[in-house]
């Protein structure tokens, strides 16, 4: 059970992801980071099938960095989101589709903050707030113990304090 959430503000995007890496019912790690830094102002949050998540996210990450090396400037968040969606769509009807759910959060110099929701069927939607999974802490049968929180603004990506919520 994984959780991602993003909220777009007037000049920032706030994102959080849970910290559990699980193998069936066992937590293998409780400090796992599900956010991938695509560039100085773009974060990709990725959950889904084991292996597919890291493989797909790292593939996107390396390609975004390659674009910067070749062209001298970075992809905008909108362009990165559409590139990611195109890759998901291309693999969807192949023998090896990627079962991943994503949130892409970024800050663009001209367009400001942006949050993009993508799922494993390669849908793409720009939204003011979005989530994947269940993050309820009082009403859900399982409680996720802790969350990594980051905020992106015109200065870049900033780490905020980890959220550790206990059932009260």
């Amino acid at each position: 059970m994984e959780y991602l959430v993003g909220i777009q503000g007037p000049d920032f995007v706030l994102v959080a992801a849970d910290n559990v890496a699980a193998s069936s019912i066992i937590q293998m790690k409780h400090d796992y980071d599900k956010m991938f830094k695509l560039s100085e102002k773009i974060l990709l949050l990725c959950v889904g099938e084991a292996g597919d998540t890291v493989q797909f996210a790292e593939y996107i990450q390396k390609n975004v960095q390659l674009y910067k090396m070749r062209n001298g400037y970075e992809l905008s968040p909108a362009a990165a989101a559409n590139f990611t969606r195109k890759n998901l769509a291309d693999y969807l009807r192949s023998r090896t589709p990627y079962h991943v759910n994503l949130l892409l959060a970024g800050y663009d110099e001209t367009d400001g903050p942006g949050l993009y929701y993508m799922d494993y069927l390669s849908s793409l939607a720009k939204a003011p707030f979005a989530a994947h999974g269940y993050g309820l802490n009082k009403r859900f049968i399982l409680n996720l113990p802790s969350f990594t929180v980051r905020v992106i603004d015109k200065e870049g990506i900033h780490d905020l304090e980890n959220l550790t919520l206990g059932a009260k």
Partner: protein, 220 residues
Amino acid sequence: LKSVPPPFPMSHGTTTLAFIFQGGVLAAADTRSSCSGLVACPASQKVLPIHSHLVGTTSGTSADCALWKRILARELRLYQLRHGRRLSTGGAAKLLSHMLHPFKGTELCVAATLCGCSGPSLVYVCSDGTRLKGTLFSVGSGSPYAYSILDQEVHWGLTVNKAVSVAREAVYRATHRDAYSGNCVDVFHVTSKGWTRLASFTILIHNSYLRKLINGKSVE
């Protein structure tokens, strides 16, 4: 890739564990190879050295693990010859993970923890694509029981002797409750100078744990 149906149901019965502490990395495993209800081999090696400074625990299908460990050892040696330096533990894990990726969705089952000491590090690699870097892992059908001991006792400041006895007890407790784990306990200790294999402990140490219960004395 069309997979051939297995000739009989295979179970992934094993208990393996590995953790990092101040004295390096410790890896331990039981030695029972099971084939449904039959103990196919009571003395199998589940902790396999890959090179002088890297050791891997194996879980899943024995044949798959043995083969892929050999392939990994070959590829790491080739890397070393071509680039003049050894690949790090994380690099070896990534290499193994990428080599296993084309077989995702088939019957291949390999779940390994690579323990290396170029800066002590521990990475869990699974044929379903998982690759996790951490400080404590236990894999196999007996792993929940092993975790119950490890989560309580393992911390950074353990002495080597205490770490060995914790690893031994964790595997013992798992073999006590899990039908598919048993026989002996192999313990490997990896430091920056390389790996050493400690004497294989038999589960006749059950008697010494029973005495501990009765007398309240700690077991070394």
